[in-house]
């Protein structure tokens, strides 16, 4: 059976077609970075207007790339939250209309739960060659979320901890702004830090307390600000030589915290399987450190390719297919749920 997935929780409109639940036939993502970079970030009204313009062409392109028509589709899954409510509603209502017109089962999917399942996606370019075994720890880390989940099967999990203040990706973006770098800031910091000794400028790791699985990234942004002030570094002084060691030191501190909490979560739950997903899961230093540590400590580490870590509809279609098998179908009265835990 083919499942169509639609994702519109934030600034990307995405549509995917999956075969037999986990084989990605196509996954099209239309990013809005070009519009939002003008504003230095996401603008909700602009995001939902762009979703309206993009949803039909993106769905058509996904069907075309999969070589199928809408009448071949057996079920339709769409993100119901969390995210920007105006954006979610565009994809969700489109999905409802298609489900109604073609008499298809509709499944409303939680975006974060879907991120946790991204490691199961398979495609012809080699994704999903090995997949994790249950139970596993999932670190979902992006501009809007930093959460640790204990995942026991495709549709069940326990939230172990999340950020109390800024999400990790937000800290990357804010530090990038302090350093005079553009949006999206995480990519800029990653690139700038490559090959730069992270020990030149050190920042305190915000761990809260040993074993604690919550995150706090607002202090580290303040620490970077304090560093700039103490060293009288003004806007006009922000040359690459000046900012690269700061960027690298900050990235190392943020990555260390993420790595440490993943390990603590595995210890707390007696599992040696770890999955990372979300936009920040594309960060090369995070992947490198977890990969090295997994060899040293003997745990199994799964990082889906960046195309399935960042926001995408393939993970939505995947979880939708699993939910449908478990009998969890939605009605046409399904509404958007902007908050994670509702």
């Amino acid at each position: 059976m083919l499942t169509l997935g639609i994702e519109s929780s934030c600034d990307d409109t995405s549509c995917a077609v999956l075969k037999d639940k986990d084989e990605v036939l196509s996954c099209v993502v239309s990013s809005q970075d070009d519009i939002h970079s003008l504003y230095g970030g996401i603008v909700p009204e602009l995001a939902s207007r762009r979703h309206i313009e993009m949803v039909v062409p993106v769905v058509e392109e996904a069907l075309k790339r999969a070589g199928v028509g809408i009448t071949d589709i057996g079920a339709i899954a769409a993100t119901r939250g969390p995210g920007l409510v105006g954006s979610i509603l565009i994809g969700l209502n489109f999905a409802k209309a298609v489900a109604y017109a073609h008499k298809l089962p509709l499944i409303g999917v939680n975006h974060l739960e879907a991120h946790a399942q991204a490691a199961f996606l398979k495609d012809k370019d080699g994704a999903g060659a090995t997949t994790p075994e249950f139970p596993f720890i999932a670190l979902i880390v992006s501009g809007g979320h930093t959460s640790l989940l204990y995942v026991t099967d495709h549709t069940s999990y326990e939230l172990l901890g999340q950020s109390r203040d800024d999400a990790a990706g937000e800290a990357f973006d804010k530090v990038a702004k302090l350093l005079g770098l553009g949006y999206p800031g995480g990519v800029a910091i990653d690139r700038l830090s490559k090959g730069v000794d992270p020990g030149l400028v050190e920042f305190k790791r915000p761990i809260i307390s040993k074993g604690n699985l919550e995150f706090s990234f607002s202090g580290i942004k303040t620490a970077v600000l304090t560093y700039l002030k103490k060293n009288n570094i003004e806007k006009e002084d922000l040359s690459e030589d000046v900012i690269a060691p700061i960027a690298s030191g900050f990235q190392e501190a943020a990555v260390d915290v993420l790595v440490k909490k993943c390990v603590w979560a595995m210890e707390a739950k007696y599992t040696d399987n770890l999955v990372i997903s979300g936009g920040v899961a594309c960060n090369s230093r995070l992947r490198e450190k977890l990969s090295l540590l997994s060899e040293k400590e003997g745990f199994k580490f799964f990082a889906p390719p960046p195309r399935y870590c960042s926001d995408n509809a393939a993970m939505i279609a995947f979880l939708g297919g699993q939910m449908l098998s478990a009998g969890d179908e939605s009605g046409l009265d399904l509404n958007a749920t902007p908050d994670f835990l509702s």
Binding site: Y39, G169, K174, G219
Partner: protein
Amino acid sequence: MEEVFITESAEETIELGEKLSKGELGIEIAKGSVIALNGELGGGKTHFTKGIALGLGYTGYVKSPSFTILHEYTGGTLPLYHIDLYRIESGVEELGLEEYIEGEGVTVIEWAERATELFDDKTVMINFEYIDEDKRRIIIKK
């Protein structure tokens, strides 16, 4: 009226926000109240907003809405609309913020200087200044 407070830690900044929304600073916070927060990155604005939420009886997470622009917290005595204009350099008028300000709850706006046209003489204006790593100067004007 202008009052200056010095807080020595993030916890003290949260407490001050809690006092404000409980009316303990001599300013009534009720349906339709707008609290405008200004000051640089790391000034304590999000911590202060946590305190405002606590004072309204909301005990869930209050997280920075820089990425999503708006968070809405319900479950306390009044809904709290937490807006952050950090990323908005232009086009504030397109966001439709009036709907919140004229709504049923209390509105807190971080980086409020980017939307001065939304405020009137009833707005509580609060400025955050960074003194050192832990200390902040918080100036409340009404």
